[in-house]
């Protein structure tokens, strides 16, 4: 695409000047006349029931306007999917307020008052009496024969056994306990493996182990990690003419409307979401946060706007946590390093609310990334009395790869194979298979995979061979080590809509339903349509961040979907508009439509040439599908409503992405790290990091690098320092401050990281682009883990983050000393 003017080139995004001047407005920057302020009363206990609430003193305070209780929340509506399927609302799902708290810090009630001081004083004047219930903050403890349950009904989600000829019943909470024998090796640090919830396999796993030259059996735990978005999920709400207006940060603009409508039991057309800027999401607010109901309901109750400023502490509770996963892997390798068999078991920790699929899905990424000849994957997800788990960049993939990468690294050391070479040997390529077989016995496959190319490029970029030569050398108390890691995640969905109008002023007006998280995909994906229309960027205007502005049906901005899904939608819309322009030109000037080509903002062909401005005028004159008065039948109803509102203004490009795709889209990253460990303190420094991504065609290079290295640093945080800690006896959080949970600072990561893309188009999508938000995470996390063991040897750590106490104690005692299995310590 060397002749591209827009795609693949850097540019100044339309929101950047507002950001650098402080004019960009996030939810809490809005002020509404007469607005009230909210404070929340949080549960002081990890599990219990509200027996009574005495709020008389609070209600009598001057300035206190309303109190909202859980009983006043509407019942969440069922979800109806695009395909028309109804998914019943889970009656035990997380809600905005509760009378049966299942974690300490869960919101019980809310007060609205004239200012925050008054609301705070009112909260303190409310007396709540609780009945306390058993609780647990360690999933494996809950699985013991006599282990406590986090819910009265049990400790896992499951479905009742299906009756013959009937679909399986709805999700319910069930109790799972393992036997004492399952825990026989617990005290040796080996993860117990009782009856799983999920199991799949392919190939002959036992034969693989039998033929293996080396079989390893390793236990490793990945910690719970909070998202810690910098902008807490504050929300401002008010009502006007029966419509709810909501200012709140969210990852997805259009699809968050559906969530709010479901929680509030409103028609989506009665919800307007203003979300021009969002201060981070990382998966935790894919379609908003259920807590935004609180100001909406209080506003309804009081008749004036209500602001709910979420504090950092509240954000720590409701903002989300990546689930901890405890893993045990048995892996068999041939002498040359080929992975013959894998038997992997994952225990995932979850809150007592909806289960994240991290533990259950992880094995699939391992099966793709290392292409084992045979594999069995087992998993169970166990509930605890800790805050809600939410998807976090590379959910499931990160934990599984963190559990598996140290095993590959250990095998390479024992088999005396270069670390890059063993990964290259086992790497997927082309339409590589992944996961278990379906009902027809067929395994799924990737659209493409160029991880080998990424490894080759990264090896040079990082200077692997030179650095390897000095690894393990000790100078004084300092030892260096190098590590490499591969990583993958799904990277795109399909089937969404594009929508724009070229008006008689000659400008292109694009409707973007993508959320603005700063990854710039909210604008980037539309460069594809502008490029195809030959439109100079200065003449493109993008509507975004306000769902009253006629936006099309758009994917959720999560799971690296957007770049793939919405470049396809943009491509489809532009293809539609080009076709219409050709028809208009042929009709006006004669000849065959296909003989007309777009160049220099004109459409030219055998009969002459006309400007796009004139095409727009002509489209209005011709009406029908040309200016949006008639719409394609296959577009989403959200798009149809928006397009109808925009009809008659010019040449409309509107279409659904129906491009074929053979396979599932995955992106890949290879990461390289060098560390220096001080063996007298256990402290290590990350000296350098380089990453190479394979995610197809690059749309916006600087934004791409921001994700490739930025998400890489998120991964590093999981190895370096970030964790949650709970007092095991009282079930209360001890990591309420950044200096306690420890997200990394700029001085904890290298000052000169390098990043590149292989930039090979994906063959299964018209623009060639896939997402890059997820796979950099595990690459960053595991390159560090592997570099530490390269410097110090295999038996140093058994859990992440790998902090200096783990290293120092292992060096002191010659074996890993930190308990690998207790969660939240």
């Amino acid at each position: 695409m060397a002749d591209n003017k827009l795609v693949g080139r850097d540019y100044t995004t339309p929101d950047l000047i507002a950001k650098v001047t402080g004019k960009s407005k996030y939810a809490e920057d809005f002020r509404a006349e007469g607005m009230l302020f909210t404070k929340l009363l949080l549960s002081p206990i990890p599990h219990g029931r509200v027996k009574s609430v005495d709020s008389r003193a609070a209600e009598a305070m001057p300035g206190v306007k309303a109190i909202l209780r859980a009983s006043e929340l509407p019942e969440t509506a069922d979800t109806v999917t695009d395909l028309g399927e109804t998914i019943k609302a889970n009656p035990k799902a997380e809600r905005a307020l509760t009378d049966e708290p299942v974690y300490a810090g869960e919101a019980i009630l809310a007060v609205a008052a004239v200012d925050e001081e008054t609301a705070a004083a009112a909260i303190e004047a409310i007396h709540v009496e609780f009945e306390t219930l058993p609780f647990v903050v360690d999933p494996i403890k809950s699985l013991r024969p006599d282990g406590p349950n986090p819910r009265v009904e049990g400790n896992t989600w499951g479905r009742p056994p299906a009756q013959p000829g009937q679909p399986p019943g709805p999700l319910e909470i069930q109790q799972v306990k393992w036997t004492a024998e399952d825990f026989a090796e617990y005290d040796q640090g080996k993860m117990p493996m009782g009856k799983p919830q999920i199991e799949w396999s392919y190939g002959d796993v036992e034969a693989g182990f039998k033929n293996a030259a080396l079989v390893l059996d390793e236990t490793f735990s990945v910690a719970n990690n909070q998202h810690h978005v910098l902008e807490p999920r504050t929300a401002l709400a008010y009502w006007q003419n029966g419509k709810l207006y909501m200012h709140s940060g969210t990852q997805s603009a259009v699809q968050t409307v559906a969530s709010i409508a479901r929680w509030m039991r409103l028609d989506p057309k009665d919800v307007v979401l203003i979300t021009e800027y969002t201060g981070g999401g990382f998966g935790s607010r894919a379609t908003g946060s259920v807590q935004c109901m609180i100001p909406a309901l209080l506003s309804k109750k009081t008749g004036v706007p209500v602001m709910m400023r979420i504090t950092r502490e509240e954000e720590n509770y409701i903002g989300g946590i990546r689930p901890a996963v405890h893993g045990r892997v048995k892996a068999g390798f041939a002498k040359d390093g080929r992975l013959l068999a894998v038997d992997m078991y994952a225990i995932g920790e979850n809150s007592a609310y909806e289960a994240q699929g991290d533990a259950a899905s992880g094995g699939r990424f391992v099966s793709l990334l290392y292409q084992p000849e045979a594999m069995r994957s087992r998993a169970i997800t166990v509930l605890t009395n800790t805050p809600p788990r939410r998807a976090q960049s590379q959910p499931g993939g990160l934990q599984a790869i963190m559990i598996f990468e140290p095993v590959i690294a250990k095998a390479a050391r024992q088999l005396k194979i270069d670390q890059v070479a063993i990964r290259r040997l086992n790497a997927p390529e082309g339409k590589a298979k992944w996961g278990p077989a379906d009902a027809k016995g067929q395994r799924g496959y990737a659209t493409s995979a160029f991880i080998k190319e990424a490894l080759d490029r990264g090896k040079d970029l990082f200077g692997w061979d030179e650095r390897k030569a000095r690894s393990g050398q000790r100078v004084g108390s300092k030892v260096r080590g190098v590590g490499v890691s591969v990583s993958t995640f799904v990277a795109g969905s399909t089937g969404f809509d594009g929508l724009f109008v070229i008006k008689p002023d000659g400008k292109m007006y694009i409707q973007s339903g993508v959320g603005n998280l700063g990854t710039e995909s909210v604008f980037d994906v539309h460069r594809v349509a502008a490029e195809m229309m030959g439109m100079p960027w200065e003449k493109v205007q993008i509507a975004w961040g306000d769902t009253s502005q006629n936006l099309p049906w758009t994917c959720v901005s999560g799971g690296s979907q957007t770049t793939h899904a919405m470049t396809r939608a943009a491509h489809a819309a532009a293809t539609d508009a080009i076709g219409k322009a050709q028809e208009i030109a042929a009709k006006k000037m004669g000849g065959s439509p296909t003989a007309y080509k777009l160049t220099g903002e004109r459409i030219s062909g055998p009969g002459g040439s006309m400007s796009l401005a004139d095409v727009a005028k002509q489209a209005i004159a011709m009406g029908g599908r040309f200016d949006g008065h008639e719409l394609p039948g296959n577009i989403n109803k959200v798009t149809a409503i928006s397009a109808t509102a925009l009809a008659g203004q010019g040449l409309m490009g509107v279409a659904r992405d129906t491009y074929p795709r053979d396979g599932t889209s995955f992106s890949f990253v290879a990461g390289f790290a060098e560390v220096e460990v001080d063996v007298e303190t256990g402290k290590y420094h990350l000296i350098d990091y380089a990453a190479v991504g394979d995610s197809g065609t690059i749309i916006h290079p600087k934004a791409y690098l921001g994700q490739l290295l930025g998400r890489g640093v998120l991964g590093m945080s999981h190895s370096l320092s970030l964790k949650t800690v709970y007092d095991q006896h009282y079930g209360l959080s001890l990591t309420q401050r950044f200096y306690q949970s420890r997200p990394p600072t700029i001085l904890d990561v290298p000052r000169n990281m390098k990043g590149e893309a292989v930039n090979i188009p994906d063959p299964e999508t018209p623009v060639g682009a896939r997402g890059i938000g997820e796979p950099p995470v595990a690459a960053g996390a595991c390159a560090i883990l592997n570099a530490i063991s390269d410097a110090l040897g295999d038996d140093v750590y058994r859990r992440a983050p790998v902090t200096l106490d783990a290293i120092l104690m292992a060096l002191e005692h010659g074996k890993p000393m930190l308990d690998p299995l207790t969660a939240n310590i």
Binding site: D10, T12, T13, L16, I17, K19, V20, T21, G22, K25, F30, R31, A32, E33, P62, G63, A113, V114, D115, E117, A121, H227, H228, V229, L230, E231, Q240, Y245, H247, I274, Y277, T278, G279, G280, F282, P305, R312, L517, G518, T519, D546, Q549, K702, L705, G706, L709, G710, R711, G712, V713, L714, R737, F738, P744, T745, I746, L747, V749, P750, R751
Partner: protein, 214 residues
């Protein structure tokens, strides 16, 4: 009801509810932009009647302007800037002096405004992100560096990082990349875009010295 800083700015109190809603629907933004009438609640007004202690009505020097403002004794500078003076470019990320999103300059020194008592900076010169742009709209060189290099993703941390950089450059106008990283190390970015941020702010340092092409 107490009074606050209405002398030097347009007050939104005259804006009718009808106009306000219209503004939201039409513009897709702001409810009120520059400032709003901060209503001190019963607790605050009651307290104002107490004897002794500091005078509530004070004059602050913010971005070169004198602003009269009613400040509670326990009020932090971030609160005053954001909610009384309408300077919402200063963000509150943690309210515990940890994340740096609230960083402003007090007499040219970067401070966490969430943890400064407004009354303690009465006699000092306060600068916020809104005060960097020249009157003619020209961006500050550090802002230009960010635009050139596309530093930052979600940008909730951005004004704090920019103010920390502007403050650090007054102390060390010609920093190495390493030195600048130390200078801005009191600011957290949760998008973890540190590499690109450092590149952008270092470019800003170059532009501040008048270096045209890096």
């Amino acid at each position: 009801m107490s009074h606050d800083a209405q002398e030097t700015q347009a007050t939104p109190s005259g804006v009718s509810r009808r106009n306000f809603i219209k503004g939201v629907v039409a513009g897709g933004v702001a409810v009120s932009s520059a400032a709003y009438l901060f209503r001190a609640g019963p607790l605050l007004s009651g307290q104002a009647a107490r004897t002794g202690g500091v005078e509530r009505l004070i004059t602050l020097t913010v971005n070169g302007n004198q602003r009269r403002v009613d400040v509670a004794p326990q009020e932090t500078l971030a609160t005053t800037l954001r909610y009384k003076l309408g300077l919402t470019g200063t963000k509150i990320g943690c309210d515990r002096a940890e994340c740096g999103a609230c960083t402003v300059l007090v007499d040219d020194v970067p401070r966490y405004s969430c943890s400064v008592l407004t009354h303690s900076v009465r006699a000092k010169k306060i600068q916020t992100i809104e005060g960097l742009q020249a009157a003619d709209g020209t961006l500050h060189p550090v802002q230009r560096g960010v635009v050139e290099e596309q530093g930052f993703q979600c940008a909730f941390c951005m004004s704090g990082f920019i103010m920390a950089t502007v403050g650090y450059l007054k102390k060390n106008p010609n920093p190495t990349r390493e030195q600048l990283a130390h200078g801005i190390s009191g600011n957290l970015c949760r998008c973890q875009d540190y590499d690109k941020i450092l590149t952008a702010l270092h470019r800003g340092a170059e532009l501040s010295r008048g270096v045209a092409n890096g």
